[in-house]
Symmetry: C2
Amino acid sequence: MIRFHNCKILTKDMIIAEGNELWVKGNKIEYIGKPKEGVFEREIDCKGNVLMPGFKNAHTHSSMTFLRSYADDLPLDRWLNEMVFPMEARLTDEDAYYMSKLAVAEFVSGGITSAFDMYLYPNAIAEAARSTGFRMTICGAVNNFTSSPKELEANYDKYNSYCENVSFQLGFHAEYTTDIGILREISDIAGKYKAPVSAHCSETGLEREECIKRHGKSPVELFDSLGLIDYGGSLFHCVHLSQRDIDILKERDITVVTNPASNCKLASGIAPLSRLDERGIRIAIGTDGPASNNALSMFREMYLATALQKLQTKNASALVPKKVLEMACVNGAYAMGTNNDCLAEGKDADITVIDMHKPNMQPVNNIIENIVYSGGNENIALTMVNGKILYEKGEFYIGEDIELLYKKCRDITQRIKKAQ
Amino acid sequence: MIRFHNCKILTKDMIIAEGNELWVKGNKIEYIGKPKEGVFEREIDCKGNVLMPGFKNAHTHSSMTFLRSYADDLPLDRWLNEMVFPMEARLTDEDAYYMSKLAVAEFVSGGITSAFDMYLYPNAIAEAARSTGFRMTICGAVNNFTSSPKELEANYDKYNSYCENVSFQLGFHAEYTTDIGILREISDIAGKYKAPVSAHCSETGLEREECIKRHGKSPVELFDSLGLIDYGGSLFHCVHLSQRDIDILKERDITVVTNPASNCKLASGIAPLSRLDERGIRIAIGTDGPASNNALSMFREMYLATALQKLQTKNASALVPKKVLEMACVNGAYAMGTNNDCLAEGKDADITVIDMHKPNMQPVNNIIENIVYSGGNENIALTMVNGKILYEKGEFYIGEDIELLYKKCRDITQRIKKAQ
């Protein structure tokens, strides 16, 4: 059993509580309460630091680390067609495994304890999760060129009984890459399992317009009309939405996953988070992939999420920090269907420790505002996933020497670039 | 003499060069070139990391750390009048000294080696610089309530011969806080010394409109008409500009200092950096104060500067990373008149080491893009100012125990809040 003491704890109600300690037994939170007697393998004096449920990176493409800083400063369509797709064509399943592990290192050093990951190679994601101990929910990535509804269903079975830190959700890439026949088949699978379906949605204005040209419906309207989201799901980006789209999102209990850094960097726009929030729609936050961001930092995303709303609505009080932190720590768990949405007895032990002993966190007028408005990866003292410490004080415990992992990833990237 | 070896070096031309080493003698860069014999007090193996000129924080209010996370989510006018001014009224010169030192700790842990600092207490800023070794250029802060043109002139003399890491530039707070009679007197002083003058300018639409109502001119037009910027200067924020304003900024060789995080957080808007850049206007970057940001991280500002331009211009190639890094590392030196704009022999040794051995910097496809798009304070391995190492691997060498400094600052903040 591991004992965290001398800490402040972010509660389920998004309040920072003092005076309690937290015990972890196996992969679960065993106890939160006043100090009492116990037998421990390890006791961690948190020095007054803050224990939080880890960040949930609710939309990413971990394996794409190989494209970081490779194809910057292009709009989405050219970025995909001219740079991403040709490079991806030379990536193997094994390459993707190492590249995902590199992303896992970045995740845990930034307080992220689980990711909702969509990529060509589900096996690479699953193995990266198993070998590092990181929690991954794999999102189906079916489109006209990759995978199929049949494979999707097989993966749904396979990866939902793979290991305790891996799960799988139905999903496809996007409307603009997936023919309607395939979407109908996926809808049938969703109906069969009564399962949510997730996908990219209305990321750019162009995507939305072309969907309307093709189908007479917006992406959200189309997905709804096909029954794809009858059992909910997560829609990634959702930058360009009509009032009707927003009504459907609410009706279908969709989680909107926002990716503000990526949406800025590809000049896609600002998602209408304040409007969605006012309508009572659940919002989670993702970093998107390292090729379009380029960091995988939930601190950056939290700041951007609120900063861009303040700009968009011309209202400095838009999207207050408490709400943003809830999006980043809590709501992603609903998107992924994981048991790590808060720090409470019986929950999976996915925890991060925020180091308040850094100048950017001082003085302490309001801890949640400090975290959202001032925090950065330098404030992550420790990250635990499923009861295991994967990162502590600059050191990684992910089953691989970090320098060897960097080298492996550099070598893979060089090989792929040379082949071009 | 200190030797940095096994490093990459960002050159004056904004290229990352390999194979050279860098020596520091006293407060100056003594040598950059191929390895050769020498006698050293210390040899630093940089392990392939990047040596850069430190970031220049070209507009900040260091002492305002006491207001971090205290008055969030308000627009500029309410934020100033309801929260900032009443709290500031209870801050002493000594308080401001400690609060500035806290900011210095944040600066050096974020690779910042000099700051252009405007606040009520120039003495506190100067003493914080002297006692920590950090480089400060103090900006005059005259307005109707604080200081006077006479005091400004006295400070100009005093702080320009104070100590080698302190300098002073003429300045005033802003048009909306300073009567035209005072502005005329400052213009006379500028003429007498043929010196640049700096101020807040066109931060909000309201500020601009009210200036036009009062004077029939925009702030930029007004300053120009009064001869205030005949010898150049830096104008902070510049969010709301007309074409005529931009022409004047160019004609007067003004440095525009952008503060994107603060402009988002207070819902002030997006400065037209791409237009300014196309017009050939020098742009530098500042964090603004910790009360309106709330972090003091140039990484955040660099990312926002380019990300917001991509959004504003709907062009993913707007404001490329090389240009952004130049704004952050080089251009601020022109604004402050310091001898630390690049790493070259004879320049003041203001250096930061970027740690590439972190997952967010791997793999390495393009180092400058990695720094601008992925970097964060976790990538600062070392910061040297004026030849002295002030920060290295998480430890501070600023003449004060960091935990005692945190406590002092917390105590001051508590006292001020209780008095309210």
